[in-house]
Every structure is written in C-alpha cells, then in structure tokens.
Symmetry: C2
Subunit: 346 residues, 2 copies
C-alpha cells in the first residue's frame, strides 16, 4: 500500500524508502545505471518506486536538460479530412527535423495563443484561421497556411486561380455558357479567392453565372442546390448547365439534389468540386475536381517555419524585414473526370 501523502512522490521519497541517495534514484531512472549502480541497489530502487507509484517529473527533467523543441500545429477541425492531411504532412516534416508536435484544434487566435502559452512552444504553424491580423502576441515565429500572410510573417497557400480558370475553360470548351457557382459560407481567404477566380474566368469568356452560398456539409449543400435547380428557366430546365462547387462535399450535395429532381449527371448537368477527397472517387460518376494536396501544404509550411527558426537563431522573428515574410504558392491541379460533359442540347 503506497503512502498517500498530499502530493505525488519525488525521487527523494524513493531514495529515502530504498535507503539510497537521491542521485542514485536519478541514475536508475535515466537508464544510466548500468555498471555504475549495483544490481541489488537498482532492484531496491525500482521496488520502492513501484511501491510509491513514483513517476519522474518530466517538467523538472526538461528544465534541466532541455527537451526536444516543439512546434504547435493549429487547425480549425481535425475531422475534416483536408485539415487532417495538412496536419499529417506538417507533422511528418517536423518529426523528420527532430521536432515534437503538438496539435491545437481551435478556430480562433486567442485559443491558439492560450495553447502556446502553456507549453514550451518554439514555433507555430496555423492553418486556415479566420481572417484577421497577426497570428500571435509576438516573439514566437509563425507561418500561416491557406490565409493572408499577417505582417511580416510567412504564408503558404494554393495557387488556385489558374486551376479554376482552367476548369472554367474546360466547361466553356465543352459548350457550357451559363453556370452556377455553389460557394462556401466560410469566410477564409481561400474562398474569397475562389469566388474571384471563377467570376473573372467566366467574365472573360462571356459566360453568365449565378451563385449561392451554404455551409460545408452535405445537407446544407443539398438544400442550397435544390433551391438553385428549382429556379427553372425555359423548358423546365435550370438556367445553367453546370455547377461549379467550392468543395467536394458541396458537389456531392448537388449530385443528390439533381438526382432527386430527375436530372442526370453529367447528362443534364455537369458538376465540379474542389479538394479531391475520398468522396470525389466514391461517387458515380467520379467527380471532376481540383486537387489540393494538403499534406504537401502542411509539409511545405512546416519546412518554411523551421527554416525561419534556424535562421532566426536567438533573434525574435518579428523584425521589420523578418526572414520568411511573403507568400509561397503551391500548384493546384485540375482533375477531369466523368462529372463534366457537353450540355444537353436544349
């Protein structure tokens, strides 16, 4: 029966019980005891420790020897497979460089800052935060992903406009002249960019367009799509022949709404997504979409962050011309599959 004193037992308690000195306990628990501490003594120490339920205090240990460096990765939602991929890529890059990773699932800056404060964090990689200002108090280097680079700090994002332009061009070439754009309600930089890119590409080709916005889930998308599709023009058909969606999930919502109205994809309606998650290949027909390599985004961002960290040395990273300012863009690739086809002849 262990002593149930107030606080957890320390190595000193163990030493006392085992009848040895505290430093011997330390030796044993660091594994540095081989050939320096006798068999008998070691056993005695371990027994005493077990009896007391002793566990070495990691904080004290780290204060002394300095633990591995840590970087915090913040994402708004880990269930979303896109963010999960970003995290995975970033984590791999960090570990490869010998950094420990701590995950922070938070939508707003304040909460991320709180997570940073409690732990010995050396750098922060923040993905898709809601717009607005610099990421953290200061002094801790940060890189943001998929967002505007806040003053003087690095950012990595997708170069999505060219892919969307290509997508619109693809539709145009198939013969579409009028499209709908189903947008996400989420107010992050990337979605604004998507809206602008689609608009610009359509305008340039003289294609007419309508749009709607909804939350990033299947039901919301289905409803929004149903409303959009019910706005019939001539011939009982909707006033557009293709729906461009901000996200694969939205596209699946369109599939379901279309099916419910007896419209076939792509026969009556072409549909496209963005992301290229599992869903895109699971549905029938397979979805034409824009591939956003999340792991690569995470890994690239992490590498930039670590580069800043190395270079920064002891200096704070928030100087006027801090290294790592500016924005790297990763290519997004259009994947043409079976959900796009020439429009039905009216």
């Amino acid at each position: 029966m262990p002593v149930s004193n107030g606080r957890p037992p320390t190595s000193r308690d163990v030493a006392r019980l085992a009848g040895v000195s505290q430093s011997t306990v330390s030796l044993v628990f660091r594994g540095a005891a081989s050939g320096r501490v006798g068999e008998r003594t070691q056993r005695a120490v371990r027994d005493a420790a077990r009896q007391l339920g002793f566990r070495p205090n990691a904080d004290a240990r780290r204060l002394r020897v300095g633990g591995p460096r840590m970087v915090l990765i913040a994402v708004p939602d880990i269930v979303n497979p896109f963010f999960a991929r970003v995290f995975t890529g970033a984590r791999a890059a960090a570990r490869e460089a010998g950094f420990q990773v701590v995950l922070s699932v938070q939508r707003d800056l304040e909460s991320v800052a709180a997570d940073v404060a409690g732990q010995q964090i050396d750098a922060v990689l923040a993905c898709s935060l809601e717009d607005g200002g610099r990421p953290l108090d200061d002094a801790v280097p940060a890189v943001v992903l998929d967002a505007e680079p806040p003053q003087g700090q690095g950012s990595v994002r997708f170069d999505i406009a060219p892919a969307l332009t290509e997508l619109v061009e693809h539709l145009h070439r198939l013969g579409h002249r009028s499209i709908a754009h189903l947008r996400s309600e989420v107010g992050t930089a990337t979605f604004r960019e998507r809206a602008e890119a689609v608009d610009a590409a359509c305008a340039q080709r003289g294609m007419s367009r309508v749009h709607a916005a909804c939350a990033l889930d299947l039901d919301a998308a289905r409803e929004a799509a149903a409303r959009l599709l019910s706005a019939q023009a001539d011939g009982g058909r909707p006033p557009f022949t293709a729906v461009v969606c901000d996200d694969d999930v939205l596209a699946v919502g369109v599939y379901k709404a279309a099916r419910a109205l007896g419209l076939s994809v792509p026969g009556d309606l072409s549909v496209t997504g963005i992301d290229n998650v599992d869903l895109a290949l699971a549905v029938t027909p397979e979805l034409t979409t824009v591939d956003l390599p999340g792991e690569e985004l995470g890994a690239t961002g992490m590498r930039r962050l670590l580069a800043v960290l190395e270079e920064g040395g002891g200096a704070p990273a928030t100087g006027p011309h801090a290294a790592g300012g500016g924005c790297v863009r990763l290519p997004a690739r259009l994947l043409i599959r079976d959900s796009t086809a020439p429009p039905a002849r009216g």
Copy 2:
C-alpha cells in the same frame, strides 16, 4: 539587434538590461504587475524583453506552479475519419474536465510510450492499437478503446455482434440465402469480432457464405470485390446475392466493382458497410450500414479514464484489483438504407 549569446535569454538577462530585479520581470510577465509595478518600469521591462527576444520558460514555470494535468490520446491514423471522431469526442470530454490533451499518432505501443515519457502525462487513452499485451510500462493509468482490455485496465468498445446479427437477419428476411463477407486485413480485435459475428449469424440461419480480405482502401476493396464477383456460379451470376463489408470504404469498393461488371445495387446485389461515415450517405444508393458513434466511444473512454484517475489518487493504478478493470460496451445501431433489397429472382 538582440544579443546572440549562446542560449535563450532568461528573465535575469531581461532584468539586468532593464535595470530592475528578476522578480519584477516575473511580475510583469505573469500579468500580476497591475498596481504593483510602475508604468515606467513595466515598459522598460517589456522593451528589454523584446530586445532580447525573451520568452518565459514554460518548463520552469510549470515546475513551480504545476501546469494543468494532461492526458495523451493515441490513435493509429488521424486522417481516418473514424479515429478523428474518436479523438474529437475524447478531447472534448477531457477539456470539459479541465485536462489538456496531447495527441499521439502511432500504431505501436513503443512509440506511444516514448511520447508519454517526454511529457508530463497523467493518463493515456489508446484507440485501436494492434493486439498484444498491456499498453504501457506501468504506473500510468490507461484505458483502451476498441481493443482487448489488457490486464486489469479498462476498455471501451462497441457491442457490434448484436447489430451484425440483426443485419444478417435483415438480409435473411429479404430472401438472401448466400452472402459474401469482405473483411479487413487489419488484425485488431474489432475485426475478429465482426468475422465471428457474421459467421455465427449466418450459420444459425443456414446461410452459406464466402469471404475475402483486403486493405482498408478503395482500390484494394474494388479489386478484392472484382475477384469475388467474378467467381461466377450458375447463370453468370456470382454465387451470392449480398456482400457484407467490414467497413464503409470497402462497401464503396464493392459498388464500383459491381457497376464495372454491369451489376446494379441493390437490384442484382445488396451491399452493406460498417461505420456510417460521410461516404455512406454520399453514394447512390445510400448505404445500409452499422453506425459506430466514434465521438461517443472517445468521450466514454475518456470519462472512464478520468474516473480512474480521480479515484486512484496518489496510488498507482496497476494494482491487482485496480479500479476500472473490465470492459464497457457501447451499442452499435443498424441503419437500413437503400443498398439492401430482395435478391433478383434467379
């Protein structure tokens, strides 16, 4: 230009530069300075800190005041939406109880143990670890999810057999007498249990069955399903009328293989999954599946773990009759949707 001495600056360095005492610096950085430290002094301290790139050492702080308690959650793969949900549920429960959570994405025990060692972890919740023995060295309370309870420690898992029995019964009632079971290759407890449950339920009703196993991804499933479906019996039809799958992803693979062979679901072939992830509702027809509420699994497991932690007090949790031994089972619910129908008349 900050001094780039060897090691990071300490509060003492800041104090020296600002011409104040070290404890004043401490006061300022703890936010306890209001009304105790003069305006001027505070500004001086902050300036000096910025100049040096000073950040308070979290390890030292925690050694003194004791940080929040931490629990580690281990999952084999955070991109898998099921595990992401488990993590989310467990994390919510932990935070509600005032615990910090750290995520460990590891498949094997050793790596989890390493993650535990480095940090001040008070308890461990491990999900779906490969079979084999006790979870950790000792002394750290642990609960496992979706796995055999290792000696004397708690576990929470789904009570999946009744749902599978019900599923087989449902197929039987529809008229199916011969099924295929597409299994996962993954060797965790839950999959063994699924195999046994399906076998037993079929045997009891005199239904014949075949099975195959493959990795948990779409392509592997499609190939395995294609092989299964090509083993034609009489009439050019496969020797079964329904495929029960260990997982929704596998079921989608079956959809695609069936479609490629010109078989319709559920007209020619009924298909079922397990999990109820997004995919299940995205495909057409919507998939009959067994709902496995991952968040609830995570939350329940975490609550058990925290209960053990409270009760355990200062004592080690690995006693002979440690609290929390035994296995809680959560219900799994059969969701009948459109992918199951009476078999075509031969």
